[in-house]
């Protein structure tokens, strides 16, 4: 039967091995994959300012981005593709809470420069290679199809 020192070896050995593998995989991801997949060359000062705005207003407290955040408001990774810039400008600069279907968004009342920065941030994140996320809806009714 397993002894206490064998159990300790299992714990320490397993931890060290998996941690080293984890560090190795992380290193490869961060140095080889991230620059290419996120198009790091497009991280302009505007995009970075947009990220600041995204964080300092806790947008993640309602929305998700890269699927992360809260589930009260829509996922925004592909928002430029889905809604277009015009709609986004209206929402972001609104002085009244934007409330589609009655659910209110905080009225951030961003100025034109800030709106531009946020849109640049969303354009950048919309181009990140996310292994196919968010999935494209694929439901097709078979009732009326021939």
């Amino acid at each position: 039967m397993l002894s206490k020192s064998q159990a300790r070896t299992f714990f320490l050995g397993g931890t060290i091995i998996t941690f080293v593998v984890f560090l190795g995989l992380s290193w490869t991801s961060l140095t080889k994959e991230v620059p290419k997949r996120t198009h790091e060359e497009n991280l302009s000062a505007e995009v970075i300012a947009g990220k600041h705005l995204w964080e300092s207003n806790n947008c993640m407290g309602c929305h998700t981005i890269l699927g992360e955040g809260a589930y009260y408001a829509p996922e925004l990774t592909k928002v430029v593709e889905r809604r277009g810039e015009g709609y986004m400008r209206a929402v972001l600069s609104s002085k009244e809470p934007w409330a589609p279907r009655g659910r209110k968004m905080v009225a951030h009342n961003f100025n034109e420069e800030e709106v531009g920065q946020l849109i640049e941030f969303f354009k950048w994140i919309g181009n990140v290679d996310l292994n196919g996320f968010p999935p494209k809806p694929d439901y097709k009714s078979t009732i009326n199809s021939k």
Partner: protein, 443 residues
């Protein structure tokens, strides 16, 4: 209690109970907002309620862990805490940092990164606070007569938790990098080192309650924390599927995170078999219920419900939906809420000298809170699965889907009321015990 300084634990537990109460209030605000009643929007917008709700969770659990350590370490090391006054100062500063952060969230003062919303200047205070705490614990352990496996595992968990807070404090321009390291904190906490803390507390409780030989319990403790790290460290990959890193993580994350329930299964089997093996029947039935309860509920909430959406093929659709909230609620409650309740229930009679074992209020608290939380989990699950199919499969607009699933939040609020009633009973019992007293020494 055997050592006078153990009574510090009581005040950390009291802070825990206070913050939990507030957390529940903000939970209700969000549930009502989901139902369409957002009358508080002007003053407490959803993102404020959300940040307060999750941060209070983290702080009350941490306060509970700290209280547990302040109780367990002196007893295990057979030595008074090296500095009781410093421990009280640490408690007060923890409460202050928490309160300032939470008030700040109402005035747009935050960092806006899920779970790590605390603004940077306060982060440094958290670091000082945690270092003080660790200083007291480690020095006590060092000066103590013995260093048991239980106390070492508990301390190791606390030290790693402190270290892992640091990657969350690095600024990145790239959202993908930001997210990558945010999970070093969040995932490696809750699916890594917090399980060490949980395992340490659980081992201590089982030794005390079942009377099974320490050597046997501690051997299995090593096996459990071994399984935790072997699956949990590479299991971090399940957060890396869709954030802008490569496909390797789909395979690594998928395989290792699917193994994560094993650690929780082992914990459940361990607790139940030690209970059955134990010859000593401790009279504190309430503590026993919470101890076995946490081992079993964490397996269901953290283990099975996590497994339910951890494979990349499933997670592609459930990622970023209410399905995550379903898993999150039962996982945090089962693994970390209940272990804190277990240690409080075990220590209160020892700290105060009043043996209110086996009271009806105590049992009501256990059953109401657990059944309520299970109901909440089901409500979140139904809402989440409906959301996945309508939005991700059929392509309905987010807002339309939210209208469709509103009704499930009524069920959620009803179950949450039951949960809150249970917590109410628990806190009533907590208050009824009164304060720690000198007469309780040498029990």
């Amino acid at each position: 209690m055997k050592y006078n300084s153990q009574k510090v634990a009581y005040w950390f537990f009291a802070l825990s109970m206070l913050l939990l109460t507030l957390q529940i209030v903000y939970g209700f605000i969000m549930a009502f907002a989901h139902m369409g009643f957002d009358g508080l929007h002007e003053f407490i917008a959803f993102n404020t309620a959300r940040a307060v709700h999750t941060n209070l969770l983290v702080v009350w659990i941490l306060s509970g862990f700290m209280g547990a350590a302040y109780y367990i370490i002196p007893e295990e090391a057979e030595h008074e805490l090296v500095n009781m006054k410093l421990a009280y100062a640490q408690l007060i500063s923890l409460a202050l940092v928490g309160v300032v952060a939470i008030i700040g969230y109402h005035f747009n003062y935050w960092e806006g990164r899920k779970f790590l919303e605390i603004p940077r200047p306060l982060d440094y205070l958290v670091v000082v606070n945690v270092l003080t705490f660790l200083g007291i614990i480690v020095t006590t352990l060092y000066k103590g007569k013995q260093r048991t496996t239980t106390s070492l595992v508990l301390t190791m968990g606390l030290v790693f938790a402190a270290l892992l807070y640091l990657p969350g404090m690095i600024w990145f321009d790239n959202q993908t990098m930001d997210s990558f390291f945010r999970w070093w904190v969040v995932h490696l906490w809750v699916e890594g080192v917090w399980e060490l803390i949980m395992g340490g507390i659980l081992a201590f409780l089982l030794i005390k309650i079942t009377g099974v030989d320490r050597e046997v319990i501690e051997k299995w403790l090593y096996v459990i924390v071994g399984l935790t790290f072997i699956s949990g460290i590479l299991g971090t990959g399940h957060h890396y599927y869709y954030i802008g890193v490569g496909k390797t993580w789909l395979i690594v994350g998928g395989i290792f995170s699917a193994l994560e329930p094993l650690a929780f299964l082992a914990m459940a089997l361990f607790a139940v078999s030690m209970y059955r093996k134990g010859e000593k029947k401790h009279p504190n039935k309430i503590a026993l219920s919470w101890t076995l309860g946490t081992a079993i509920t964490s397996f269901v909430g953290a283990g099975l419900l996590g497994l339910a959406h951890t494979l990349p093929q499933v997670n592609m659709y459930t990622h970023g939906t209410l399905v995550t909230a379903m898993h999150g609620h039962l996982a945090f409650w089962g693994a970390y809420g209940m272990i804190v309740f277990a240690i409080i229930s075990y220590t209160l009679p020892n700290l105060t000298g009043r043996k209110l074992y086996d009271s009806t209020t105590g049992l009501l608290a256990f059953w109401l809170s657990n059944i309520g939380m299970l109901g909440m989990t089901v409500a979140f699950g139904v809402a989440g699965v409906a959301q996945v199919y309508l939005e991700r499969k059929m392509g309905m607009d987010f807002g339309d889907v939210q209208k469709e699933i509103q009704v499930h939040f009524v069920v959620l609020a009803i179950c949450a009321s039951m949960f809150a009633t249970g917590i109410g009973f628990y806190i009533y019992e907590f208050i009824k015990y009164g304060r720690p007293s000198k007469e309780a020494l040498q029990n």
